[in-house]
Homo-oligomer: 195 residues x 2
DNA sequence: ACGCGAAACGGATAGCTCATCCGCATGTGT
DNA sequence: ACACATGCGGATGAGCTATCCGTTTCGCGT
């Protein structure tokens, strides 16, 4: 961790390239927010760029999706750190999971990135590992103090979060309904996890 | 319900067509069991038939998928009926949900069919409604006796089941791990639903 | 300011999957 | 056996992914 890799490291050198990179990302962000499945041809057309340009910056759809999701992942990594400073292990654990599901149902990119086992960008892998590590610590603390049932494993965190997000998407047609629904489902899950 | 519609009603008239219909379904069943995403071109090749033949019998991937899932849906409808005869509302409710998730993680076709809002085949809509109606009755019974928290709604059943199935697929690479994992997750959910 | 090399652009293009359409073959009733 | 209807099958087109390469643009050194 001597030289942390940040977004800037992967932005291109030339001005036009940097501008296009940002532009592509902006358009992609819009499409993701619309719920559109994010096709690179689409992105190129809506950005007024050639297909080649888009593909040079982001070799695959996955790469673009992961880049779109990166800021959100960074925020979650920060949340995890912050939660670890709370005194009550259970509250900290619950608060962290709440943040995670809220992010997931707010940003469709996040679920796909979280659910896929093999990432394209190293940065994504790194962030996911960091978030998972924080989650594992929070879980361990809560489990050790007897707040969480002992048979819950680190490896269950990501699947359960994705499951709640998926359930929320199945339930709600409109994005407005998603946040309360997700909170309700998480609430149920937390009751189930509580010892 | 005077004249129940069954599978036979949608099989073609001519012998060769009927044979091909069955054959396509068998091949599709195999592919789904393998976890393959079920592409109609694929089905045609593996069945030794023309693409046109497959598309005539099943206009879309969805139609084929729903037909593949139909027997399983019928079984679940039966389970729901049977569960309603049990005396203990909570046990009946839990047993039914267990059957549902077990089916879902055993048969990948089921999750997709359950999660999609608009069905292609009337039969699928009918069966889903039937299953949901049974689930709603079981839930109502369990809720009325105070076994289940009052804020759980009928409309939550399908999303929650799909969520658990999804979480299970995210968790387990190998099909063998899926059943125990799904049971564990459902167990947690049931604790959360219990009043 | 100018020119040159490198970097980036853009679209033509190839490969792939989905889906349709229609001439041909095959089954079925007379 | 014949004729008609029904079903077959692949050729075909539309859409998306991804690549490749000739052309343009940038920015640095002179």
């Amino acid at each position: 961790m001597a030289y942390p890799i940040s977004l800037e490291d992967m932005t291109p050198q030339r001005k036009d390239a940097a501008r296009n990179w940002e532009h592509i990302l902006t358009v992609a962000r819009e499409l993701v927010d619309e719920g559109t499945p994010l096709q690179l041809n689409d992105v190129a057309r809506r950005a007024g760029l050639g297909v080649g340009t888009v593909y040079r910056h982001f070799p695959t759809t996955e790469a673009l999706l992961e880049t779109v999701a990166t800021p959100c992942l960074e925020a979650l990594a920060g949340c995890g750190q912050q939660a670890l400073t709370h005194n009550d292990p259970w509250t900290a654990f619950a608060a962290f999971l709440t943040k995670v599901v809220e992010s997931q149902v707010t940003d469709p990119a996040l679920v796909k990135v979280a659910a896929s086992a093999h990432d394209v960008l190293p940065r994504t892998t790194e962030l996911k590992a960091q978030i998972l590590a924080n989650g594992a610590k929070l879980l361990a603390r809560a489990r050790d103090t007897g707040a969480v049932r002992p048979d819950v494993d680190d490896a269950d965190l990501v699947p359960l979060m994705c499951g709640i997000a998926y359930a929320t998407y199945v339930h709600s047609a409109s994005p407005a309904d998603r946040l309360p629904t997700a909170r309700r489902y998480l609430d149920t899950l937390l009751r189930g996890l509580h010892a």
